[in-house]
């Protein structure tokens, strides 16, 4: 559908939240026990952090939970009973989600509906409506300005302008949301796209050239680049980048239980970890830099080759939370031939 534009008065946001709670399972930013920002289910608008600050964890868990039961089984005497998980029926509204988080779903949908339809994921995805909040300022390490399609597929995006939110509706689900609470929204009569562009310029999120997509040709030649070994060897192999990433979606399937009762479940997994692709007698990615290289190239070469979009929204969490501050953007630029100097000056020199 063609984009539609509305105005939402800033003092109406609370009401929108409260009313939506009657119709949706509303997920919004709030603070956890340690005061960290998280996506949660705040009970009142007072507990909602309607801010553009990024929580450490992206919003992907609402479509792809970290741990999810696929089937339960129970053995009674000779009989074995197995049952799948019950479908969650309720519509979810992701309220005030960052654009970089919201945009991720559209990207990873490709893999979940590719040759195999992943019902648990797709079911939750179909039930979820995204109400994104545009950032008024760039975050610490983010780089969505370097990725061309950062808003595509996001149902609604609210831009905080002077006095009101300019709400851009991009999908039917978004339109349904606005229609449901139409009394809270006013029509936008000005040049909305121009206003958005001005806002972006000011926020520092306007698209810049060259886009990271342009690095791909270089990356395709860089697999055997000697500097991987030195630049990616500081990677400690933890799962922070993948687990905080809104687009990383790899999972592992595990069984828990015994011959009597148990379950099969899937949990997030990460290609930077040493057990990923480890087989009983062989680990093809036998050094850490190979695992890191896999992650980077999957995001910026293999995935776009297969599905089109980069597997990245530029949220920058993988830099912010990386214990050793490996900078994926810098590495893409360096190995993709957009930049001559390696980050930190480290070269292998072979």
């Amino acid at each position: 559908m063609a984009a539609e534009y509305y105005r939402l008065n800033k003092d109406k946001v609370g009401e929108l939240f409260e009313r939506a709670r009657a119709d949706y399972d509303v997920v919004a930013k709030t603070r956890d026990a340690n005061g960290n920002l998280v996506y949660g289910r705040p009970a009142t608008f007072d507990d909602v952090a309607f801010v553009d600050e990024q929580p450490p964890m992206s919003a992907k868990a609402f479509a792809l939970p970290q741990t999810e039961t696929l089937v339960r089984y129970e053995r009674e005497d000779e009989k074995i009973r197995a049952e799948g998980p019950e479908a969650e029926a309720r519509d979810v509204l992701l309220f005030g989600v960052n654009i970089c988080d919201a945009a991720a779903f559209d990207i990873i949908d490709h893999v979940f509906k590719w040759d195999y339809l992943d019902d648990p994921y797709l079911g939750r995805r179909a039930d979820a409506t995204l109400f994104a909040l545009a950032c008024a300022a760039v975050q610490q390490d983010c780089f969505c300005d370097r990725i061309s399609y950062a808003e595509d597929g996001v149902d609604t995006v609210a831009y905080p302008l002077e006095g009101y939110y300019l709400v851009k509706v991009q999908t039917e689900k978004g339109r349904k949301l606005v229609e449901r609470y139409h009394d809270l929204f006013d029509a936008e009569d000005g040049d909305a796209e121009a206003a958005i562009n001005t806002f972006r310029e000011k926020a520092g999120t306007a698209k810049k050239e060259p886009l990271l997509e342009s690095a791909r040709a270089g990356l395709e030649k860089a697999f055997e680049h000697a500097d991987w070994e030195i630049l990616a060897s500081t990677c400690i192999g933890c799962g922070i980048c993948t687990y905080t990433c809104p687009t990383c979606h790899c999972f592992d399937i595990q069984d828990e239980g015994s011959a009597i009762a148990g379950r099969r479940l899937r949990t997030w997994d990460h290609c930077t970890g040493r057990t990923f692709t480890a087989m009983p007698a062989h680990q093809p990615r036998d050094r850490q830099y190979k695992r890191y290289r896999q992650r980077l190239l999957h995001k910026f070469w293999y995935y776009p080759e297969r599905f089109g979009p980069l597997l990245c929204t530029g949220c920058g969490r993988c830099i912010t939370y990386c214990p050793v501050k490996i900078n994926i953007k810098e590495l893409v630029e360096y190995f993709g031939g957009l930049k001559d100097t390696p980050p930190g000056g480290a070269r292998h020199g072979k």
């Binding site: 964890m57 905080t244 939370y321 930190g344 020199g349």
Partner: protein
């Protein structure tokens, strides 16, 4: 700290020029961060630095470089780590060039607000807890020392966060840890940032048998952290990297500190004191004190 930066870069260049090392492990400053970097002689050392955000325990990178001659920036944290690693025969000291530095005390990234002006002037309240306990700011064992030696303030006593948790009742502690563990995402950064967690395969990765369930649930997460603390008993040198790297802010090191403090009191044991200190759990005294065995 312009001088230390220049001295450091010159020292590293000399080590490469004199063919003393194959790799240098230090900190580089780039794109707004200070981060660990592994350099070869063909690298550009001009980004090398040592500042108050030189957080990482660099001994963590030694296993990857085993067999090569390595120059390593060592703060007191690394020195104690090296001692434990040496006792466990995990480092070849003769292949290591210890580059000593005067440690200005590391800042706690969680206490830094965006764009804090002058990092050098931030007082104790911005420090990491470990730095207040530091016994020696100038690297002992240094083969090369760069920068001006600094005085070491009187080490602080006590374990503030641990003691805070201990003020709670048992039920409150269980609830508190359960809450903390409900945040854990099992990224294992705590383990992987730990230079003493060098096992090729961690117990938590075992699946035959699968001692710790793979599902991310508070009790499974807690069991992982408890066993990790047991494995670090008498080995942990309290560098607090586990807590620093935690993306969800769990103060993981509190569990390690429980044992650090207890083993010091009970066995008079300080981990990493010397390269000969054998790990506490691989030793015993006939009269080890305990008060719970029937």
């Amino acid at each position: 700290m312009a001088t230390i930066r220049e001295e450091l870069q010159a020292a590293v260049k000399k080590l490469f020029d004199d063919d003393k090392i194959d790799y240098f492990v230090g900190y580089a400053e780039d794109y707004g961060h200070t981060f660990p970097a592994i350099l070869t002689k063909d690298s550009d050392p001009s980004r090398l630095t040592f500042d108050r955000k030189s957080y990482d325990n660099l001994a963590n990178f030694l296993p990857e470089l085993r067999g090569s001659r390595v120059g390593l920036i060592c703060k007191q944290c690394e020195v104690r780590t090296l001692n434990v690693l040496a006792a466990e025969e995990q480092v070849e000291r003769d292949k290591l060039v210890v580059v000593g530095v005067p440690c200005p005390a590391m800042l706690d990234p969680r206490k830094l607000t965006e764009g804090a002006a002058d990092l050098d002037s931030l007082d104790e309240s911005y420090w990491q807890e470990k730095c207040r306990r530091c016994l020696e700011r100038n690297t002992p064992l240094a083969d090369v020392f760069v920068g001006e030696r600094v005085s070491t303030p009187t080490p602080a006593e006590g374990w503030p966060l641990l003691e805070e948790v201990e003020k709670m009742s048992a039920e409150e502690r269980l609830a508190w840890w359960r809450r903390q563990m409900s945040l854990c995402i099992r990224c294992y950064a705590c383990r992987l940032a730990c230079p003493l967690c060098y096992c090729h395969q961690c117990f938590v990765e075992d699946n035959k048998p699968q001692w710790i369930d793979k599902s991310v649930a508070p009790e499974n997460n807690l069991h992982y952290h408890i066993i990790r603390a047991v494995h670090l008993a008498g080995r942990c040198i309290e560098c607090q990297e586990c807590s620093r790297v935690c993306p969800v802010g769990i103060p993981v090191d509190v569990l390690n500190n429980v044992l650090s403090r207890d083993f010091a009191e009970r066995f008079g044991y300080v981990s990493g004191e010397t390269a000969e200190t054998q790990p506490a759990l691989t030793r015993y005294e006939r009269d080890d004190k305990e008060d719970f065995i029937l």
